[in-house]
Subunit: 355 residues, 2 copies
């Protein structure tokens, strides 16, 4: 039996979009493909709320997180760390030989603009890495205030992991001044995994020109060159995903981006209310994610057993991440899930746990 996915990615994909993955192939050096890209990219820009250059990468979001590191860090990176994925971004910088400084925050909280500002005053940092939504803890940070603060540091590039937020939570790339925004297709965009997207500002592209050892596959400037010259990708892309993305962006724009954000907020509030009633919320109230709720397992239930029972009813949620396993569990309300889906899921959980 198929399990409806209430996990923080891959998320549930509607049948229409699954079908769009089955289009016959075209050549990626043919006009047809350039035309497809010219259709898709402006829609991606709308979703990102940006006029910046768009990278379409056949990889997971992690690939473009590495791209941001390799293309943007010249002197020294500041990584803000408050969960497994922000920690892994730091690790990626280290593995690429970058000099790093770390701002560690207690898990369950997020970074504040003032904390970053304090570190930037020394003047040695040229790139800041911020995770908009920490999938491991269900923490979402106030990116707007971080972006606005960073306008006082015009030489510093701001890179944001929006893998589990973009398309579900408000993110105003240009208005907030975010230089690099990275996302994947299998979270709030509700496509199958296999494609990653990024918006890259002029400032970030200019920086890349000064950075050595950018490699090839994930070099923002190589993507830019192929876009400028051919409206194509540097290497053979996942054409199936790009077709499906094109269809899904039509669906998203038809719903309306603001309406999509509202739907995510409504689902989040509904799940939070349930969690407060029967358990507790894991994150500090100030940092509650709009796309994912992490519940503190105050009842000491077996999350693994709960998921086994849910599987029989055709659903899956996520256990806590890493050391938070069994101490928390995570319910994603991402992508194309609806209030009806969330009501159904919580009813199932209530029945199983006798709540």
């Amino acid at each position: 039996m198929h399990k409806k996915l209430f996990i923080p990615g891959p998320t549930e994909v509607v049948p229409e979009i699954l079908e769009a993955m089955s289009v016959p192939m075209i050549g990626h050096r043919m006009k047809e493909f350039s035309q497809l890209m010219e259709e898709v990219v402006p829609k991606v820009q709308k979703l990102f709320r940006t006029r910046n250059f768009i990278v379409v990468s056949t990889s997971s979001g992690t690939g473009l997180m590495e791209a941001a590191v390799r293309s943007c860090v010249k002197k020294k990176a500041l990584h803000t760390v408050y969960g497994a994925f922000s920690k892994r971004w730091l690790d990626i910088s280290k593995r690429n030989g970058k000099e790093v400084d770390v701002l560690e925050i207690e898990w369950g909280k997020g970074v504040e603009a003032e904390q970053i500002e304090e570190r930037l005053k020394k003047g040695d940092i040229d790139t800041v890495f911020v995770t908009h939504n920490e999938t491991s803890t269900g923490v979402m940070v106030d990116l707007k205030s971080i972006g606005e603060m960073m306008k006082n540091f015009p030489d510093v590039v701001l890179c944001v992991d929006a893998v589990s937020s973009l398309g579900g939570a408000r993110l105003e790339t240009d208005e907030w001044g975010v230089d690099v925004v990275v996302t994947s297709t299998q979270k709030c965009i509700a496509l199958p995994p296999g494609l990653a997207l990024a918006s890259v500002s002029e400032k970030a592209l200019e920086r890349a020109k000064e950075v050595e050892n950018r490699g090839y596959y994930f070099d923002f400037l190589v993507f830019k060159k192929y876009w400028d010259e051919r409206r194509q990708t540097p290497t053979t892309p996942s054409i199936s995903h790009i077709y499906a993305l094109n269809r899904q962006l039509d669906r998203i724009l038809e719903e309306g981006i603001e309406n999509r954000w509202k739907r995510h907020e409504e689902m989040a509030e509904f799940v939070r209310a349930w969690a407060r009633e029967h358990f507790e919320l894991f994150p500090d109230e100030k940092y509650l994610s709009v796309t994912l709720t992490t519940v503190k397992n105050t009842r000491g239930i077996s999350v693994a057993d709960l998921n086994k029972e849910l599987a029989k009813r055709g659903a899956a949620i996520s256990n806590g991440y890493g050391t938070l396993k069994e101490k928390t569990f995570r319910i994603a309300h991402m992508g194309d899930l609806t209030m009806d889906d969330m009501r159904w899921l919580l009813n199932q959980i209530n029945e199983i746990l006798g709540l």
Copy 2:
């Protein structure tokens, strides 16, 4: 109208496999995904004729070509160059800050074991890069003799780009002693693009442990760790492609790998005979590719016009690559194409050109 693809990738995908791209999602950290991987990987090993570790990467083949560079080159790389793709591999090494030596061969010919042997005698090279099938020229090299020669250099790692050969032309990874074999799914394996595969020997894995700055997304050792511990991939993979690969490998194994090679040889001989009759072959007869025929445009036809006419009849071939545009054209006989397809295509071309 859909154009049947006689281009060297993406190749035509049969409807059954296109449909397999539409499976509903599962979580990539769920048991179901580990089970899928445990089903797929042994079949990939059969196709690669190897017992070596298999990397399943959500990227194009280029990504794993970069992986080979970053994971294997410690001291100095020897790149053998005889076309656009072997040249690009050299470029990838340079862009990753690797020290390189280059063995340049005239386009239309391939590298010989003795030429590599000569360069290896100096003792400064630790990794050799060979392109099995040069997609830009239609040249295929004698990998068997290269592999056998290299057994005299046990400290040197042999990396092979088999992107446009594996699954179509004979390649005996273990018997020939190839340490790293890289391929993509959209050529002879006849899946949509979006996934790359590599086999990596113990020797190459041991080498990687000594190489710094391997990065994350394409680090062979990161793939190995996730396989050993979880039978999973390090980052969210293209689940759709892996499902489709699983189905397609069943089809390939049902046909029989040797039969598949034979079919490719038969198609190659048929197209070569036609090319010799009406044009000339571009590559030296010693290096004719089994998966792709590059025809010298001795009649001075307009290849662009020919392709326009073919498009009306529902087919596409490839113009010459880069500087070989209009001077050559390329007919791929790769993947799931059959003798009937090749007969039909050449009949169309004969009619259009009045041959």
